[in-house]
């Protein structure tokens, strides 16, 4: 019998929880997420890093999980689409503003590319000053690296602006509350 399935044990902080797994060293991060950790929200559209469907956040940075080996994220933090929402402390989940915006603006149709857009845009919005109004150039930058075959992107851009506006309104509200 011939086998080239050398395996290695990795530890990853996955969506905020430390997880350990033993995976073949040749497995892509996307394979480990989907087939080892059962997080099937990360979708594989091309397996050569072009479409962006498989984008996850590695230490907060958008990363194509089809271009990274699973063993490369040993010791790192990984956030998938399943980890974008946060517990509301009442047993439910609070969606990230960009998730809400995608639904509100009809920014998805088949939904296959959606997780990659959501992780990318969420990281971009979280990294910017929410008090500043988002520009068209910023929106183009946030949505410009992923492929979608259904929507023609118009509503994805709209959702991006919508989410940024929500986040801006939130900081304004918090600032008001703080001033009281």
């Amino acid at each position: 019998m011939t086998s080239i399935q050398t395996e290695r044990t990795i530890t990853v902080v996955l969506n905020g929880v430390s997880r350990e797994a033993t995976v073949p060293v040749r497995w892509l991060l996307s394979d480990a997420l989907r087939h080892e950790f059962g997080l099937t929200g990360t979708h594989v559209g091309c397996e050569h890093g072009v479409c962006g469907s498989c984008t996850v956040l590695v230490d907060g940075e958008p990363t194509r999980s089809c271009l990274v080996l699973a063993v490369q994220v040993d010791g790192h933090q990984v956030t998938t689409v399943e980890g974008l929402s946060r517990p509301d402390h009442q047993g439910g989940q609070v969606l990230h503003p960009v998730q809400e915006a995608f639904r509100e603006c009809h920014a998805l149709q088949c939904g296959f590319c959606t997780p990659g857009f959501l992780t990318t845009i969420a990281a971009g919005l979280d990294a910017r000053d929410p008090a500043v109004e988002i520009t068209d150039e910023e929106v183009d930058e946030l949505v410009g690296g992923n492929l979608c075959r259904c929507t023609g992107y118009a509503n994805i851009k709209k959702a991006c602006r919508h989410a940024a506006a929500t986040m801006r309104a939130d900081v304004a509200t918090k600032a008001q509350d703080g001033a009281r």
């Binding site: 019998m1 080239i4 040749r26 397996e47 050569h48 590319c113 492929l147 259904c150 929507t151 023609g152």
Partner: protein
């Protein structure tokens, strides 16, 4: 009424799971399944001399290897010709695994099953197939010249000759004051959904039954095909389309070899087996569309009115014809668009090439037909010195001419009779939307900036909602929950939302109470599929009719209870009530309980329907003769013929003479799909279609070399538009209801893509003053076109790169 939802931009119910990573696509199913993988032909045309699988057998984790020799019974026969046609005189289909000859790169030769996909591909690497190469036919012109044949027994490479005519075209052309002729090409693209195909199969040995999940547009027909090929009784096969990551036509073809082989392996191995297509496989073994050579001759009078039209098309159907000649028929019959064509003849030669099969991709032959007709309009305008919009206006079918019979036979075998429309209205709206009449000011402004600006337009009519039928089932449960099912599948069009809107509206219940299932043969066994912009028209009307049946029964039962006339009752927010009499009411969920006379109570609600619950009429049976227990109804919608949607697009392009880059700066759409159930979803369909139209016009092509190798079989090299390539789209609506169906609907799914290449070609010509004779067009090709000295230069291609 608070439950009126028809026409509202209701947010999609699908989205809650899809934005949180909780969707269930094919590859998300069956985490413990074995993995199948395929060894595919590296040659476009070759004889298989030998297959040596022995080097693979010691790969740890390999479970099975299958070649053609392992196929038995109907599996060893060629794949079905799905849509036979008398003019398809030489149909050819492949085998699930190649028998003696491979006819395109990517054709499946060997299937292996292993513990995981990596191991399966390790095994594939070790299998040695010896081929004897044969001459290769690539491109429609090579097929037409027929120096070599794709199939030995079809020496002229012609699979079908499709021919329709509405009169004697040659004398009509001879009698025309003017004629012009041109030849042009349209390139290959492909549907290219973000999710490739995939199949998961589970065999239940004790029950001798099979459950198959497949990323398909036609689950009922896949079921029938699997049952036939694996010699199983139909009731032993269940086929389910889970969440499907886009289709755009490629997933209407069936059964794909993998849809038969994966279930076969699951049965033989007694274990779940799954195959998920990778992107390269999708490029080389799924389907493409669109390449045609078009020879057009049109006769017209001094005013630019068409007197006769003669079109001869050579259509590249690839290596096989599983989907018959649907695409050629659609091109032939939809080509005439919104225009009066007094005498029309069309001949289509559908030819074999050693390339991936050609089957419908969104638009399905219409973009090519539109390209032929609209380019003719532009040329007539130029020859007569007329405005392009004016020439079109003079040829339009007028509002008082409906129903308008073109005397052609459509893809459903039914006459091309336009049911309704207002094409002059479309043109008026389009001209206003894109400011057609004031364009010269913009052109001058751009010229001052050193840019070439051009504007173009194109119109189309789209036959939508073809039969034969779809069905719907609506059932009210004792909980008040309303279950809706239809056999037709979904690939992102929002069917769960739209069908729930329709049923909630018809039945008078809150939309939250309605649950919709599509594409699951366990729930609805009779269906055709999702294609040809038919889902809303077909299943929409079917579920609405089923809901009406439920409502009628509910009112009848409630009328008995309330001792009133059913005609005095209405249902609002799930309450059956006497119109205008507050208080006299009964919840619909109680009606559902009462509709099913019970012996046994299992909860509080059910007690109301048991035999000692109250005084009944003991002279009658509990279930009346001709009635049935339960508050449910099944109904079907089967149209006499297709309904014809329409639209008009305009594009403004800006060209940089330094790089000859073509930037679509404005894109305007006026569309008419009859009554609109959910305008948000319809606009989403338009946006997506336009993006594919722009991709087809400027970026996407299948670059085969002369050896039949697809040189751009990746997303790196096959250029699908990103957000940066898609223009902002402005949309105006017109609603001309269809008189053919109860809801007045026409399809909207494909419309956005149809006129893209025609409108953008028109705009580029307008910008640079040169004739375009092939689409798509790249900056390099445009540069070559404009730098040439010739007065009447055309860019012509043969569909072959290098």
């Amino acid at each position: 009424m608070t439950t009126k939802l028809f026409g509202e931009p209701v947010r999609r119910r699908e989205d809650a799971r899809l934005i949180t990573g909780q969707g269930r696509y094919l590859d998300d199913i069956g985490s413990s399944a074995y993995a199948a993988a395929f060894l595919r032909s590296p040659y476009a045309h070759a004889r298989i001399v030998d297959i040596d699988v022995t080097p693979a057998v010691d790969v740890e984790g390999l479970l099975a290897v299958y070649t053609y020799e392992d196929l038995v019974g109907p599996m060893a026969e060629p794949l079905p010709v799905l849509i036979p046609h008398p003019q398809l005189t030489s149909p050819r289909t492949g085998f699930p695994l190649a028998k003696n000859v491979v006819n395109h790169v990517g054709e499946a030769v060997v299937m292996v099953v292993a513990t995981d996909r990596y191991v399966a591909e390790d095994a594939l690497d070790k299998i040695v197939v010896t081929y004897e190469e044969l001459p290769v036919v690539v491109g429609v012109d090579a097929a037409r010249e027929a120096v070599h044949a794709v199939h030995d027994d079809v020496p002229d490479n012609v699979a079908a000759r499709h021919h329709q005519e509405t009169g004697d075209v040659e004398p009509a052309l001879a009698a025309s004051p003017h004629t012009l002729s041109f030849t042009q090409y349209f390139e290959r693209s492909a549907a290219m959904p973000m999710e490739g195909k995939g199949v998961h199969a589970r065999w239940d040995d004790a029950d001798s039954s099979l459950r198959v999940y497949t990323s398909t547009q036609a689950s009922t027909s896949v079921r029938a095909a699997i049952a036939a090929k694996l010699q199983l009784s139909l009731e032993k096969v269940e086929v389910i389309a889970p969440d499907v990551g886009g289709g755009f036509g490629v997933k209407i073809v069936h059964p794909w070899p993998e849809e038969l082989l994966v279930p076969m392996a699951a049965r033989l191995l007694g274990h779940e087996v799954k195959w998920s297509e990778d992107r390269r496989e999708h490029f080389t073994s799924s389907a493409h569309e669109r390449q045609q050579r078009q020879e057009v001759t049109v006769g017209y009078d001094d005013d630019g009115r068409i007197t006769a039209l003669d079109v001869h098309i050579w259509h590249d159907n690839g290596a096989y014809t599983p989907y018959g000649i649907i695409v050629p028929i659609v091109t032939a019959t939809q080509l005439v668009g919104p225009y009066v064509i007094p005498v029309y003849r069309v001949r289509v030669e559908s030819v074999f090439t050693n390339t991936v099969i050609v089957t419908p991709y969104r638009g399905a032959g219409r973009p090519q037909g539109c390209f032929a007709m609209e380019r003719a309009m532009d040329r007539i305008a130029q020859e007569r010195g007329l405005d392009r919009a004016e020439v079109r206006m003079r040829n339009l079918i007028q509002a008082d001419q409906f129903p308008y019979d073109h005397h052609l036979t459509f893809q459903d075998g039914r006459p091309v009779v336009y049911d309704s429309g207002d094409y002059v209205g479309l043109m008026d709206k389009l001209k206003a939307l894109v400011r057609w009449d004031s364009f010269e000011e913009r052109r001058a402004e751009a010229r001052a900036r050193g840019r070439h600006l051009g504007i173009g337009m194109a119109m189309y009519v789209e036959g939508t909602g073809p039969g034969p039928y779809e069905g719907g089932h609506v059932q009210v449960l004792g909980s008040g929950k309303v279950l809706v099912s239809t056999g037709l599948t979904s690939q992102g069009q929002g069917h769960e939302t739209v069908f729930a809107q329709l049923v909630a509206s018809e039945l008078g219940v809150p939309m939250e109470d309605v649950e919709v299932t599509t594409g699951d043969t366990r729930r609805f066994g009779y269906a055709v599929g999702t294609f040809a912009s038919r889902a809303a028209v077909m299943s929409g009307n079917a579920v609405a009719l089923a809901a009406r049946g439920v409502k009628e029964k509910a009112l009848r039962i409630a009328a008995d209870v309330l001792e009133v006339d059913p005609g005095d009752l209405e249902i609002d927010e799930g309450l059956v009530q006497v119109k205008g009499t507050p208080g006299a009411s009964i919840p619909l969920r109680t009606v559902a309980v009462l509709s099913n006379p019970l012996r046994y109570a299992f909860d509080e609600a059910a007690k109301q329907a048991t035999q000692f619950a109250g005084p009944g009429d003991d002279s009658k049976p509990p279930v009346a003769v001709g009635d049935a227990p339960g508050l449910e109804h099944t109904d079907y919608y089967s149209p006499v013929r297709s309904t014809f949607a329409s639209g008009a697009h305009a594009a403004v392009v800006e060209i940089d003479p330094a790089t000859w880059e073509i930037d679509v700066v404005d894109y305007a759409v006026v569309h008419d799909c009859g009554n609109v159930v959910n305008p948000m979803i319809v606009e989403g369909q338009v946006h997506g279609g336009v993006a594919q139209g722009v991709g087809g016009a400027l970026y996407e092509r299948m670059a085969y070399d002369r050896d039949g190798q697809l040189q751009n079989a990746s997303f790196m090299d096959f250029l699908m538009p990103y957000a940066s390539e898609v223009p902002d789209v402005v949309i105006d609506h017109q609603e001309t209801p269809s008189p053919l169906n109860p809801l007045g609907l026409k399809g909207a799914g494909e419309a956005g893509v149809i006129p893209g290449s025609a409108a953008i070609a028109s705009a580029i010509e307008d910008a640079v003053g040169r004739r375009i004779a092939a689409m798509p067009i790249s900056p390099t090709e445009l540069y070559d076109l404009v730098r040439s000295d010739a007065d009447q230069v055309s860019n012509t291609k043969t569909g072959v790169l290098a």
